[in-house]
Symmetry: C2
Subunit: 470 residues, 2 copies
Amino acid sequence: MSKPGTDTRHDVEGLQDLFAGRIVTNKSKLLHFTTDESFHEGPLPDALFQPRSTAEVVEIVKVCEAEKIPLIPYGAGTSLEGHTLASHGGIILDMTGLSEIIEVNAEDQDCRCQPGVTRERLNSYLRDTGLCFPIDPGADATIGGMVATSASGTNAVRYGTMKENVLALEAVLADGSVIRTGRRARKTAAGLDLTHLLIGSEGTLGVVTEVTLRLHGIPECTKALSCSFASTAQAIDAVIVIIQLAIPVAKIEFLDEKQVNACNQYCGVKEVEEPTLLIEFHGNETETHDQISRTTEIVEELGGRNFRWAESQQERNELWRYRYNALPAAKGLRPGCEVLITDVCVPISRLCECIVKCQKQIEAHDMLAPIVGHVGDGNFHAFIVVDTKDKKEMKKTGEVAEWMTSLAIEMNGTATGEHGIGIGKQEALIHEFGISTVKAMCRIKAAMDPHDILNPGKIYSPEIMSAYRG
Amino acid sequence: MSKPGTDTRHDVEGLQDLFAGRIVTNKSKLLHFTTDESFHEGPLPDALFQPRSTAEVVEIVKVCEAEKIPLIPYGAGTSLEGHTLASHGGIILDMTGLSEIIEVNAEDQDCRCQPGVTRERLNSYLRDTGLCFPIDPGADATIGGMVATSASGTNAVRYGTMKENVLALEAVLADGSVIRTGRRARKTAAGLDLTHLLIGSEGTLGVVTEVTLRLHGIPECTKALSCSFASTAQAIDAVIVIIQLAIPVAKIEFLDEKQVNACNQYCGVKEVEEPTLLIEFHGNETETHDQISRTTEIVEELGGRNFRWAESQQERNELWRYRYNALPAAKGLRPGCEVLITDVCVPISRLCECIVKCQKQIEAHDMLAPIVGHVGDGNFHAFIVVDTKDKKEMKKTGEVAEWMTSLAIEMNGTATGEHGIGIGKQEALIHEFGISTVKAMCRIKAAMDPHDILNPGKIYSPEIMSAYRG
C-alpha cells in the first residue's frame, strides 16, 4: 500500500479518445477495487479498462508506458495478498473480457485459452473430451490469475502446480512487444525459460494474454476417504508414509480439530472433532483399488479411525463441501470479523512440528485460528480470525503470522506455498531469499519494465525496488 | 564460434598470484577444450581453472568481471551444442572440483549436492537410502551440466526433466553475489522463479555452485519390453494411446529400422530390423502388472510383435545396452565420421508425420541417419553420420538438419527438446520464438551479466546480443 498522503492520482482523461470512452472513471465502480478477498486495502485506482483483444492490451500498455501510468492486471479478484490493489494508482486492467477457449488438442492433452477464462468454465467446456484441468485453488479463479500467482491447491500433490501445467504463454511486455514463451511440445531446452519466469510474477513482468495448458484425463474411477486421528502427529505421520511410498493420491488434506469444529457448525454436521485427513484417489479400477488398500493399511496402522468413504459424485461433493467451506466456516466462528490467512510450506519431515508449534503459539496468544493444509506438499494455512477494527488485535495477529513465517523459513520452508507475495509478504521475501537474490529479482524487473508500470509496488516495496533496480 | 581472425586472447597471468599458480595455461592441456562431444570446434581458451569452493568461484568471477575475461563453466564436457567451447576465449571453469554430496534428506526425498557430482556417482551414493535421481540423459553428465542444459532423456516421460526435479539452486552471479533461488519446500509462490530461469540458461546467467534435487523411490519392481512393428505409424500410434491413457511408463523409446540395423551390427545381435519400441515399467507388483497388461493389449492391437521381456537386472541391462549404444552404433556404420545430432520435439499427435517426413528427407538426400526417440515426450534424434572433412557433405547435412528444425517448429514443436541452443541452434531460437521474445531474453542476460563474461556467445550470437541487450 502507498504511504498515507502519497499522491497516487494520474490523468487518464487523455486515454478516452483512444478507447472510444471505454475508460471507466466512475468512482462508485472503482471503489470495488480498493479491497480484495483478504483484509488488504488500497487507494482508489484512476480508472478501469476492459480490453477486448491482445491488440488492445498492446495499445493500453504503450500509452501507459509513455505516460507512466500503472497498469494492474485483474482477473476474478480472488487473490489473497493484495495483488490487485492499485497501490500506486493507475488503471485496473480487467482481463475477463479475454475469455475465449481458443483450441483444445485432445490427442496432445493440451489447450490454448485467453487469461479471463475461469477454471470452472474451462472444465465444463472440456468435459465431453474426457479431459480436465485439475489445478484447483478453491476459488473459481481465472487462468490468468492462476498463472500470475503460481496457484496450486488440493490436487497439486498428484498433478503439480501451475509451474508443471503451463506449456507456454503469450504476454505483452512493458514496451508493448508481444512475446510467446513456448510452443506445444511437452518439453524444450530452447533459450531462457520465460514461461516459468512469468508464472508467479504477479503481473509485474508482463500482461499475460494467452495460456497453453497441459490437460489430464478425467479419472475413470474417483473415491474419497475421511478419517480422524487422536493426534496431529499421527495424521501427519500417515501423510509422510503415503508420500514416501509414492502412492499417487490426488488430494490429501488436513483439518485440525478446531477446523473440524468450525466446519461442523457451518455445515450442520457432527464429525468427530479430531485431527482429520480427507484423501481422494484417482485412476482406473485397479489403480484406485491398489492405492486404497495401501493407504488404508498405513492409516489404520497409524491409528486412523472413523473412516467414511465417498464413492458417488453426491457423496464426494458432500465430503469435499466440508473442506471447501473451511474459510467461511472459520469466519463464521466470529461474525463480523475478517480472516488473515497464512500460507507456509515446509519439508514434510518438519510439517508436524511446524503445525504443532503454530497451534501452541495460537493458543498462547488466545487467538482463534483453525488450520487446514495441503499436507502432501507440506503446505498449510492458519485462518486467523481477527477483528480488523481492533488495532491491538491486528498488531498481535500480524506478529503471530510473521512468527509462523519465520518458523517455516527456519525449517527450510517458504513463506508462501501458493498465495504469493503481493503487498502482504514483502518482508518475508527478503528474509527467505536474502538480499542478493531479491536484488537479482529487482534487476530483472527493471530490465523488463524500466518505468515500473506493471503492477508496481507488488513483490518488492518501492524502497527495495529503487535501491536494487541496478 | 568466433569469426576467423577475431582475437580471443586475454591476459590471465595477473591471476596467478591470486590463485597460487593454479591457473593452467599449458597449451597441450587447453587443446582438449577446443572440441566437444559433437563436431563443434572453438578457439583455444586462455586458461583452465578448477575452483575448490564457492568462495573461489566468487573470487574468480569478481576478477574476471573486473578484467572482462570470459568464464566458461565446465562439467563432464558431454554437451552436444558447443556449450563449453571458449568462443570468445577466456577461462574454462572446471567445476568437477566441487563434487561433494552435502546432505540427503531421505524422509523428504531430496538432496543437496555440488555441481561437479555426476549422476552415476549420485545414484551409487543414494542406493542404500532406497532413493534415486532418475533423470538420465545417457551420458554420465554432472548435475551442474544437467542444470545448465535442462537435461532429460529416457525417464522424462514419467519423472519429468530437470525443470521438474530441481528444488533450488545456489549460484554466483556476474557481480560476485551469491544467490539462493529456493529452499527445500516442495512448492513455493515466493517471488520470481529464478530456479527455472537458471535451468537451461547454459551458464550464461550465473555459475551454479549448489543444487537441491528432488529424489524418487527406487521402484520395487522394474520390467522392460522390446517389440517391433511393421511401420513407424503403428509404433507411434501405440505410444500415443499409452500416453493418452496416462499409463505411467518409465521409459518409452523408439528406434527406426536403420537404427536397429546399426545396433545389431554394433552389439552383434540379430533383432528383427523393424521400427521398435523399448518400454520400461516401474512400480510395485500390482502397479507394474496393471501397466504391463494395459500396455500389452494396446501394443498387440496395433500390430506389435517380436515381444522380448527383460526382468532380471542382467536381462534389462542387455536390453538397454542396445539403446544406450545407439550413438556409437550409428557412428560405427561409417568409421572415421562424426555424427550431427538433431533434437526436435513436437506435440505427439504430429510425431509420426514428423519422423516419416524426416526419414524421407534423409533418403532423398542419400544420407545415413538412423533415428531414435524419447517418443513419450515427442522428442527424437536423427544421428546424421557425416564426413566432417567433406565440405559439400557438411553443407548438405546442415541444410537437412535445419529443414528438420523448421518442420518441427511448423508443427508447433521446438528445435531442441533437451540438448539446448549453445552455438549450434542460435538461428533456430529466433525462428522458434520470434525476435521480440529473444530480445526479452537478451535484456535479462544483460541485466544479470552486463559485461557478458558468463559463457558469452552461447544461446545468442554476438550480433543479436549487441543489437538487443537494451
